[in-house]
């Protein structure tokens, strides 16, 4: 090995494939190349053909015919490249400059691509962040109602797998009647609401896309009147009618897809389908969606000729009593503002005489 540290890689016939580290130096006659084995040889400038190479296109590639075969030298050291450019004779300089120009252009092009990619990435994130609601709504409005059913069906069967379903009895009949009254009152309702009553002390009810409603017996036990149950159901049905669940899914799916494209993780897409199912069960709607469902729920109650204050009473009563076990409050906290908004909205509705339900509430509760 020579005394000087290597600053170039030499390839060619009879040399190892990985290249031989060597030391190159520029002098007025040409390039002095020390391959370490014998005395350094000077290659005149006139024998070189010049190119740019390497991963970043920042290597100067020199090719020439040596006695022992063709040789290719990769120069990386910027000082060495500059020295070479300065020392090279005019007829070669033109070519060197042209190559340098190419390198600069390639680097510039890459920087532009990087900037454009980065810019579009930031733009995409901003777009998703700010314009996501509009985009999501546009996407959701294009999804036909029939597509929702398999999604909801899958989520429901996944959920019901570990639960005891109450198949018949006064409770099921009562919940079905309430749901039917509400569904019939909803204008232009494309869904066929299907109610499942699940035996559980959890005080909650939820509705899945496609119109699958699940009510827990805990909720029926805690409710003092059918109007209270109707209030909760009106709220949940409106999540379906306003397609909030679907919006949520589209939002998550979109986000995951973007992340997947950026990070390039193929496994992400496989897990996506599963994640969406889980997402459905742990659906937490945004505040805006809750308010929307509240207000539309009140109007739905009104249209179905059910006393609209049941919903308000129910939530208020629950938040005063023990907060444990009342799962519905964790996703639907009853804030003072929410109660006030509901009361104001209820007061603005025209007065009407509510129509009673055909069942006796005390009998329904006794049958639980």
């Amino acid at each position: 090995m020579s005394q000087c540290s290597p600053n170039a890689l030499c390839f060619g016939d009879g040399l190892p494939g990985a290249g031989v580290p060597c030391h190159a130096e520029v002098n007025p006659a040409g390039l002095v190349l020390d391959l370490g084995e014998a005395s350094a040889e000077t290659i005149p400038f006139s024998s070189f053909s010049i190119d740019a190479g390497g991963f970043d296109h920042d290597h100067l590639v020199l090719k020439w015919q040596a006695r022992s075969g063709s040789r290719t030298l990769y120069l990386k050291d910027p000082h060495l490249i500059r020295a070479f450019r300065q020392a090279a004779p005019p007829e070669l300089t033109a070519h060197v400059e042209r190559t340098a120009q190419q390198v600069r252009r390639a680097r510039h092009g890459r920087r532009t691509i990087l900037l454009v990619a980065l810019g579009s990435l930031v733009g995409l994130i901003l777009l998703l962040w700010l314009g996501s609601d509009t985009l999501v709504q546009m996407a959701v409005s294009r999804i036909p109602v029939e597509w929702e059913q398999p999604i909801g069906e899958a989520a429901r069967s996944q959920f019901l797998a570990g639960q005891t379903v109450v198949k018949e009895g006064p409770a099921v009949a009562a919940v079905q009647e309430i749901t039917k009254r509400l569904a019939d009152a909803a204008p232009g309702n494309p869904y066929k609401f299907e109610v499942t009553v699940v035996r559980s002390d959890v005080v909650n009810a939820f509705a899945l896309p496609g119109g699958y409603v699940v009510v827990f017996t805990g909720l029926l036990k805690k409710a003092e009147s059918p109007e209270e149950v109707a209030g909760v159901l009106a709220h949940e049905l409106n999540h379906v009618l306003l397609r909030h669940g679907l919006e949520r899914i589209v939002k998550t799916a979109g986000l995951v897809a973007v992340v997947t494209i950026v990070v390039g993780d193929q496994q992400g897409l496989v897990g996506l389908a599963k994640r969406l199912g889980v997402e459905l069960l742990t659906l937490k709607f945004g505040r805006e969606q809750e308010t929307q469902a509240d207000l539309q729920g009140l109007q739905l109650l009104h249209r179905a000729k059910i006393a609209p204050d049941g919903m308000i009473h129910f939530f208020e009563r629950l938040s005063e009593s023990d907060k444990l076990q009342v799962e519905i409050l964790s996703t639907h906290p009853m804030s003072a503002a929410r109660a006030d908004r509901l009361k104001a909205e209820a007061a603005s509705l025209s007065r009407q005489t509510p129509e009673p339900f055909s069942f006796e509430w005390s009998a329904v509760q006794a049958g639980l």
């Binding site: 890689l9 016939d13 190892p16 990985a18 290249g19 580290p21 390497g54 990619a117």
Partner: protein, 215 residues
């Protein structure tokens, strides 16, 4: 398994979790190579682990045994300050402290189609570098302007003097995918390309059929 002998005070950096055994004189430290942001970008962008472990022979000379997570071969390369290697994201096992590691962005088409992601690791500097592969490792030496075609999921590392392009395996798109090769990389010498005999994605697909599906 690699055995690294350290003189007193010497350090070696390794992929986190790579240490199998070491002398009592060696301390294991974790370090975010390139600072927090550098580590974050490496984690986020190249999928390489956030922390490297640094093994330091604090209390005198000692030795360290290192092994990769995946079953496969190990190749030891010597960096002399001139040569550089580009390594796909899971290929790094260990390196001397003087080896510089950085995330490098590939061009758009290489990143999207190459199957290696947008970011790869560039190893430069001086010292010993240890790479690991999935399955056996095979070294291909390319003469200047010699071309060689490699299935993109079988790549481990290649020298910086080697350029490459992504192309489809057969003349037509349909034949490319039905032949099971999809996209390939056409390398152009001079330089060295290290390839692995197994394909992690293919192995994953194969093993997936034996995993019982819950539910």
């Amino acid at each position: 398994m690699v055995r690294v002998e350290l003189a007193a005070g010497e350090t070696v950096k390794a992929e986190s979790g790579a240490m199998v055994a070491c002398s009592p004189t060696v301390d294991v430290e974790s370090k975010m190579e390139g600072g927090f942001l550098g580590a974050l970008s490496r984690r986020m962008l190249s999928g390489e682990k956030f922390f490297f472990q640094t093994l330091r022979a604090t209390r005198g000379a000692g030795e360290v045994l290192l092994a990769p997570t995946v079953p496969g071969d190990i190749v030891i390369l010597e960096l002399d300050g001139v040569n550089e290697y580009l390594v796909q994201k899971d290929g790094f096992l260990a390196g001397a402290d003087s080896v510089k590691i950085e995330s490098k962005m590939q061009s758009l088409s290489r990143g999207l189609l190459g199957g290696e992601g947008f970011f790869i690791l560039r190893m430069s500097g001086t010292g010993t570098l240890v790479l690991n592969s999935f399955g056996a490792i095979h070294k291909v030496e390319l003469k200047p302007d010699q071309e060689y075609i490699v299935d993109n999921s079988h790549l481990v590392a290649w020298t910086a003097t080697t350029s490459y392009n992504i192309e489809k395996a057969s003349a037509g798109w349909i034949a490319s995918f039905t032949s099971g090769e999809g996209l390939v990389c056409r390398f152009r010498g001079p330089g060295v390309v290290y390839i692995q005999s197994r394909n992690p994605g293919g192995f994953g697909n194969w093993i997936r059929q034996f995993i019982p599906v819950s539910e």
